[in-house]
């Protein structure tokens, strides 16, 4: 709009004389100018704030999401030598990275302060004359089993105790060992957030000795299972003679005396029949002591099945590396579902035990290579799993140390040992997965600290297929939380995006035709007074709370549709057929009557027809079910009974009708037209109705024929878009969501149609076109872009709709097009999971990514629609 400049003032200093004699200054007051400037400034800023708001939302969402893929940072590294010449065989550290305990081969143990290397306490176990030949510990590393050359196994506890000391109870004479920690008498004090002190000390206790073999033990594994009250301690050993033994100890604590009774059962497993030159390189035992895995230096693993404890079987012998490549290290990931195998050539692979038809093993399971992680540059020398995540640390012969997250297949950190890499070493991930401690055999220590808040997420996890633990094949899965801490979180957004598209697709399938046809009818064929009542009613529907629709969908409609599914399906056929029948009957009426009843009575008749057809569907529903679905629709959908022919023929009917009608028009169309023109109007109408009936009958026959042929050819629609029936399904959601978006599309499309200039209509009608022809060939093409943008905006709304989906869609993140199954959309997922998500946790950020995805989808749709609409408006004004 044109600018109006303020004409008063203009720096003039002249003044006029007002009749009463006072002189009035014509200069604009300062305050007015100031207000003017202020108003302009505020309003412009306010107006641009809208852009800021949209960008702000986007930037904020992105800013929350970005750390998800940002990777971790290494926050610190220390390395020092603790009295060189030690012979270190085991290391354990506490979860605050404060203390670590080393165990030496001669039985001495030493606890030191991790950040500085200050020795805090120490002691010694008595191993007698025996020499340690194998060592292993439980997942939490505080219980250790040692194998000796005399065939005995000895157990130790090397843990930590933490308690809180109030500031006022702090003893005197504390020695500062770092700016954080103070030490006294083997206790380390660390100030915590509340102002009190965390007090840590090492706990070391000798345990039982158990003699299992005559020959030296060459490999051992130790696990804790059972419950806290009645733990079962189990260990597996391999001796120099190649014998594998599993012992299970049940500890029973006497409630009165606190005395522990230990019962141990030792079981000798079937022989592996190893060739004499083959060496065993490791043994693994599951916590329940029902699986034993032994690896050898010729690249094989032997899997024993101990589920029947009295009859152990060698279930499987499997090559896990290339020919002639030794397995050098093995470990289970937390949860013991994945077996990580490191080889001499540096490869690291993960195996799942899966039930396979062609397993050919004694128990029907087979070890399947499910993941291959990037190979280490040199032979893998050590693998150690993290306690709380699906991570492990791998060390190789060239001194590389890598932390790998197995689920996301990401190398989180890569470090280099500072000492001589030839020296054997033991590495561990700190219990909170925030650092790695590596101690070489000679007592040289490397400690790295790092922070990676979201190791389990990568682009491939979010959008690609991942082979998760317990699944038969790689797949897209969303399962962010599970019953146990050790479960693998599954963050694939694909099922959610799929659910969103599915829901929007079915909604648009219902909504688009109804809304557009209704809009055309309102804009072109009814009187303005009808439009004046229908339009506001529709607009009011636009602001109906969707929670109400969702409630009706889930608690009223879903059970109703389930009960009357056959009638509902019949309704989809009967309503259009009924309307067509009405139209052809209407055509056959005498023109005088038609003219008199046109307008509202005709519309009332249409409503009546719809009511009647609904009634007919309701009455004939059971009959329909009997005839087409063998009397039981739900059983039919599962594929238990009947064939796909009847359903397929219904689906094909519209196509068949179009084909038959087109064929008819091509062959007889011209003659028929001539004939119709020559007849009086009502007779022509009757003839046309007859033509329609004949076409319909032929189309039905054709579609049944085609469907039968398809069935004969072995095609069945069940298993695709038709499958098992669930009460809360895409049909109900699509229908109710359509109900929510129809008013949207309707009002926008009607606006677009209505803004087509009237002279175009007048021109068209004046050249002899009927209103129908005018609407179809003049108005609709002119308004096409506006109508299209209405559909786009409707789609945007369907994509983001939340409450209806939360309530009525069943919320199962599955990926199938089946119209009778549930789904979970991005929006519903956010609504369900975000209230429970920990701030800045992985799930929180992934949910923000879901929101960002939604934002982008709708942003693209809306921007596109708005651009089209702006173009359309300019054109409409030009016309």
């Amino acid at each position: 709009m044109p600018e109006f400049s303020i004409t008063a003032g203009q720096g003039s200093t002249e003044s006029t004389v007002i009749p009463n004699g006072r002189r009035r200054r014509l200069e604009t007051r300062r305050s007015v100018k100031l207000t003017e400037a202020l108003a302009r400034w505020i309003i412009t800023c306010g107006g641009l704030l809208v852009i800021v708001a949209v960008l702000g939302i986007m930037v904020f969402l992105i800013q929350v999401v970005v750390p998800l893929l940002g990777g971790g940072t290494q926050t610190g590294q220390v390395s020092y030598a603790l009295e060189p010449g030690e012979d270190v065989i085991w290391v354990n550290a506490d979860e605050h990275q404060t203390l670590a305990t080393l165990l030496m081969a001669d039985g001495r143990h030493k606890t030191f302060h991790v950040p500085t290397g200050t020795v805090v306490s120490g002691g010694a176990f008595d191993f007698g004359d025996a020499a340690v030949t194998a060592v292993s510990g439980t997942l939490s590393r505080d219980r250790v089993a040692l194998g000796f050359d005399d065939g005995s196994v000895r157990f130790l506890t090397l843990g930590f105790a933490a308690r809180v000391t109030a500031a006022r109870n702090l003893p005197a004479g504390l020695v500062d060992i770092s700016d954080r920690d103070r030490m006294l008498d083997g206790l380390v004090y660390t100030r915590v957030g509340t102002g009190d002190f965390r007090t840590l000390s090492a706990v070391s206790e000798p345990g039982a000795i158990s003699s299992v073999s005559e020959a030296p033990i060459i490999a051992v594994d130790y696990r804790v299972g059972g419950t806290v009250e009645r733990p079962t301690l189990s260990f597996a050993t391999v001796d120099a003679a190649g014998k594998v033994r599993v012992s299970r100890s049940t500890v029973r604590v006497n409630m009165m005396t606190g005395e522990e009774t230990v019962t141990t059962n030792t079981l000798e497993l079937p022989s592996m029949e190893l060739a004499p030159e083959v060496q065993v390189t490791g043994v693994l035992l599951s916590g329940g002591a029902d699986r034993v895995i032994v690896s050898t230096d010729d690249g094989l693993v032997y899997r024993f099945d101990l589920r029947d404890a009295t009859r152990p079987v060698l279930a499987e012998r499997r090559r896990v590396t290339d020919e002639g490549v030794a397995v050098t290290s093995m470990t289970f990931l937390g949860g013991e579902q994945s077996l990580v195998v490191g080889a001499e050539d540096g490869t690291i692979s993960v195996f799942f035990r899966l039930r396979r038809e062609d397993a050919g093993t004694a128990d029907g399971f087979s070890l399947v290579r499910s993941r291959s992680h990037p190979a280490m540059p040199a032979a893998v020398t050590d693998l150690s799993e993290a306690q709380r995540q699906k991570e492990f640390v791998a060390t190789d012969a060239a001194g590389h140390v890598r932390v790998v997250n197995s689920t996301s297949d990401r190398v989180l950190f890569e470090m280099m040992r500072s000492d001589d890499p030839v020296e054997p070493s033991a590495a561990m991930i700190f219990p909170r997965s925030d650092g790695v401690l590596l101690v070489s055999r000679r007592g040289e220590v490397d400690a790295w600290q790092y922070r990676d808040p979201h190791p389990e997420v990568s682009l491939r996890v979010l959008f690609g297929r991942i082979w998760y633990e317990g699944y038969d094949q790689p797949d897209w899965i969303w399962q962010s939380t599970a019953g146990t801490d050790l479960a693998e979180p599954k963050y694939s957004l694909v099922p959610l995006v799929f659910g969103t598209i599915k829901a929007a697709f079915y909604a648009m399938l219902f909504a688009t035709p109804i809304a557009l046809m209704a809009a055309v009818y309102t804009s072109e064929f009814v009187h303005r007074s009808v439009r004046a009542t229908v339009k506001p009613a529709m607009e009011m529907m636009e602001s109906l709370p969707t929670v109400v629709l969702g409630f009706i969908a889930a608690l009223v409609l879903a059970p109703l549709v389930e009960e009357w599914i056959a009638a509902v399906l019949l309704g989809f056929i009967a309503v259009p057929l009924g309307l067509m029948l009405g139209a052809f009957l209407w055509q056959s009426l005498p023109p005088a009557l038609v003219l008199r009843l046109d307008g509202l009575p005709k519309f009332a008749l249409m409503i009546l027809v719809i009511g009647l057809t609904v009634l007919v569907s309701y009455r004939l529903g059971p009959l329909f079910e009997r005839m087409l679905f063998y009397g039981d629709f739900k059983a039919w959908t599962t594929g238990a009974i009947g064939t796909g022919t009847p359903f397929l023929s219904i689906i094909l009917l519209p196509l068949a009708y179009l084909a038959v009608a087109a064929g008819f028009r091509r062959v007889w169309g011209h003659h028929l037209r001539e004939l119709l023109r020559s007849l009086p109007r009502e007779q022509a109408g009757r003839l046309d109705a007859l033509r329609w009936l004949v076409t319909l009958v032929v189309a039905v026959m054709a579609s049944v024929a085609v469907a039968s042929l398809a069935t004969l050819a072995g095609y069945d629609p069940r298993g695709g878009i038709i499958d098992d029936y669930q009460q809360r399904n895409a049909l109900v959601v699509g229908f109710v969501m359509a109900f929510a978006v129809i008013p949207n599309i309707y009002t926008l499309a009607e606006d677009a149609l209505n803004s087509v200039p009237g002279h175009l209509r007048s021109g068209s009608l004046a050249t002899g076109a009927t209103p129908w022809q005018t609407a179809m060939w003049v108005v609709l093409p002119t308004a096409a872009s506006g109508v299209f943008s209405a559909v786009m905006i409707g789609m945007g709304r369907a994509v983001g709709e939340t409450m209806i989906v939360v309530m009525a869609a069943g919320n199962t993140p599955i990926m199938e097009w089946n119209i009778f199954s549930g789904l979970r959309t991005l929006s519903a997922n956010i609504a369900i999971e975000l209230p429970e998500a920990v701030k800045d946790g992985t799930n929180y950020r992934v949910l923000f990514l879901a929101a960002l995805t939604l934002f982008f989808i709708t942003f693209v749709i809306n921007t596109f629609a708005e651009l089209i609409r702006q173009r359309f408006r300019r054109r409409a004004f030009q016309l």
Binding site: T44, F525, W586, N754, A831
Partner: protein, 595 residues
């Protein structure tokens, strides 16, 4: 979107049909004269009228209207009839079981194999005669404390006899929901007394008085004392944080607060003693209820919210119960996990949140509209602003919820907490969902509605009025302030009302930014500073979701959901109708306002 150019040629059906008919009449005449195919006939045949397509189009509109009407009727019917007292049926089954309850709804189903196997020949014959189908009725047997379930389906083939004995009463209780059964006896002042309806009514009314008094003491006075004690505790913590516990000033403040706490605790003991006194008295008035099979339950009379002989009600009695239930619904707090009682806190929360939202949304929306209509030069920038407005309108509401939670609650609120409410940490004050953040989130969500409507209203103010004002020497802002805005006000109001309607019905974002199923305190109360913007609140829309989907028995909550739905719908439809009315008046006023 509304710059619609209205057509001045009515494109209605009759004209078209008439034209075709006329032309056809002319055409047939000419066709007979010249039967040659080469000559172009000037008539249209029936297909040109497109009757089938017209019916399809009209049918779509009709379908839309039927669906809307059906939907509104469904909600209205279920909502309106819910509170009408229903009779209690005593059903005797063929196996001799007796049950009593309100018939709630019925349906038709096909008994499965596993059901049919267990039936007698007689029952099988009954089903056979019914074409393999069976009708079943859902009885609300209530008495959850005795049966562990509120409802029971009874199939027609099971039924031996249905009676409606007058002795059956329906009791609505404070706890355990409704009870269906007879009165076995009364205990008045610890004296067993025979049942008498009038007596019981009188005693129950008195008992309710006592109950309300106890509640007032517990909720009001004890609640206030507890609140003050909490405030003092926070004051102690604040003193420690700001001045240190050892410092002189800090120690003095702490001592003062502790003295105050001791005072309050003494007050608390007095009120508690009074409550106990009333409770002791209350326990002397009891009623013994017996269900249909004779199991009894003894309960205090004050626990009975309402009771009536369901099968012996006159029209006026029914009406009285109906109205009293509505009153209870609108004026009390919910009980029984929200499935009974009222929705007053939810109404309050919805209204408070919506009004708060208006405070934010109105200036923002109007300023943007002013910018677009009055200040901006048409060009790329305006185009971008319009795209932004449309994006704001099109972004899914849940995304706003995510933004509100992440930005308003966690980022802004977290900062506010650290600056001003450090004494309460790690418990968040503003750093969680609350009514302020909810209304800000919704303001963002509804601002496009206000912008679009205000723009329309500004556009409707005739240019001549502006020009007149400017010609008189008014500045641009003066023109807007004194001429344009007053004229556009009704239209702006329309936009604001529409925004309120939209905001009141939105639930998804609220689930993330502060709505709870049961708020312990209203956002406005008698304690300084009276308006507590950090508090979470209840909301009618969320109430529907919560009761319908997260209660122990969604069937038991269904009537409540329907009534709440009706209430919400009435609220929103009323707001919309008001907006449309205002808009129509505005249009009429300016239709002739050109001069």
């Amino acid at each position: 979107m509304s710059d619609a150019i209205t057509s001045d040629v009515p494109a209605s059906g009759p004209a078209g049909v008439a034209a075709v008919a006329a032309r056809q009449a002319a055409g047939t005449g000419r066709g007979e004269e010249r039967p040659s195919r080469r000559v172009r006939s000037l008539t249209a045949d029936v297909s040109a009228v497109g009757e089938p397509a017209l019916w399809a189009f009209g049918g779509a509109l009709a379908l839309g209207i039927v669906l809307i009407a059906g939907f509104l009727f469904l909600v209205a019917w279920n909502g309106v009839t819910t509170f009408w007292p229903k009779p209690i049926a005593q059903v005797e089954l063929r196996d001799g079981t007796l049950l009593a309850g309100e018939p709630t709804r019925s349906s038709r189903y096909r008994p499965g194999e596993n059901i049919l196997e267990a039936l007698t020949a007689e029952e099988l014959a009954f089903i056979e005669a019914n074409d393999g189908f069976s009708d079943r009725v859902l009885y609300k047997t209530a008495n959850f404390d005795l049966y562990g379930d509120d409802f029971r389906w009874v199939s027609d083939f099971e039924v031996a006899e249905v009676l409606y004995p007058e002795a059956f009463h329906l009791f609505e209780r404070e706890q355990w929901g409704t009870f269906v059964g007879r009165v076995d006896g009364l205990v008045i002042d610890n004296q067993p007394t025979a049942f008498d309806y009038r007596l019981m009514q009188r005693e129950q009314r008195e008992a309710r008085q006592r109950f309300r008094q106890m509640r007032r003491l517990e909720r009001g006075e004890i609640g206030a004392i507890n609140y003050r004690i909490d405030q003092q505790r926070l004051a102690i913590r604040r003193a420690e944080l700001r001045h240190g516990a050892e410092s002189e000033r800090g120690a003095a403040m702490i001592a003062a607060a502790q003295a105050r706490i001791a005072e309050l605790e003494a007050e608390f003991a007095i009120v508690q003693a009074r409550v106990n006194e009333i409770r002791d008295l209350d326990r002397r008035f009891r009623v013994i209820l017996a269900e249909v099979n004779g199991q009894t339950r003894e309960t205090e009379l004050s626990q009975i919210v309402r009771f009536y002989p369901a099968n012996a009600l006159g029209l006026m009695d029914s009406l009285g119960i109906y109205l009293s239930r509505w009153w209870e619904f609108l004026s009390t707090e919910p009980r029984e996990a929200n499935t009974q009682g009222g929705v007053l806190p939810a109404i309050f929360g919805t209204v408070a949140m919506t009004l708060l939202m208006v405070i934010f949304v109105a200036p923002f929306g109007v300023i943007t509209a002013l910018y677009l209509r009055e200040y901006a030069q048409q060009g790329r920038l305006v185009s971008i602003v319009r795209i932004s407005v449309n994006n704001l309108a099109g972004v899914p509401s849940i995304v706003y919820g995510v933004f509100g939670l992440g930005f308003f609650a966690y980022t802004l609120g977290g900062t506010i907490d650290q600056l001003f409410y450090a004494e309460n940490l790690p418990n968040p004050t503003f750093g969680k969902g609350g009514i302020l953040w909810a209304s800000l989130t919704l303001a963002l969500l509804t601002v496009p509605v206000v912008i679009v409507a205000s723009e329309e209203a500004l556009a409707a103010v005739p240019r001549s009025m502006r020009e007149g004002s400017l010609a008189c020497g008014a500045s641009k802002w003066q023109t807007i302030r004194h001429v344009v805005l007053p004229k556009a006000l009704p239209g702006i109001m329309t936009g604001i009302i529409l925004a309120m309607a939209r905001g009141a019905g939105e639930v998804a974002p609220l689930m993330l930014v502060g709505v709870v199923k049961l708020a312990p305190a209203l956002p406005i109360d008698q304690f300084f500073p009276f308006v507590h913007l950090d508090r979470s609140f209840m909301h009618l829309g969320f109430h529907i979701f919560d009761v319908g989907f997260q209660s122990r028995n969604s069937e038991a909550g269904k009537p409540m959901v329907f009534v709440t739905t009706l209430l919400l719908l009435v609220l929103i439809v009323a707001m919309n109708a008001m907006a449309i009315y205002v808009r129509n008046r505005l249009k009429r006023r300016y239709a002739t306002a050109q001069f």
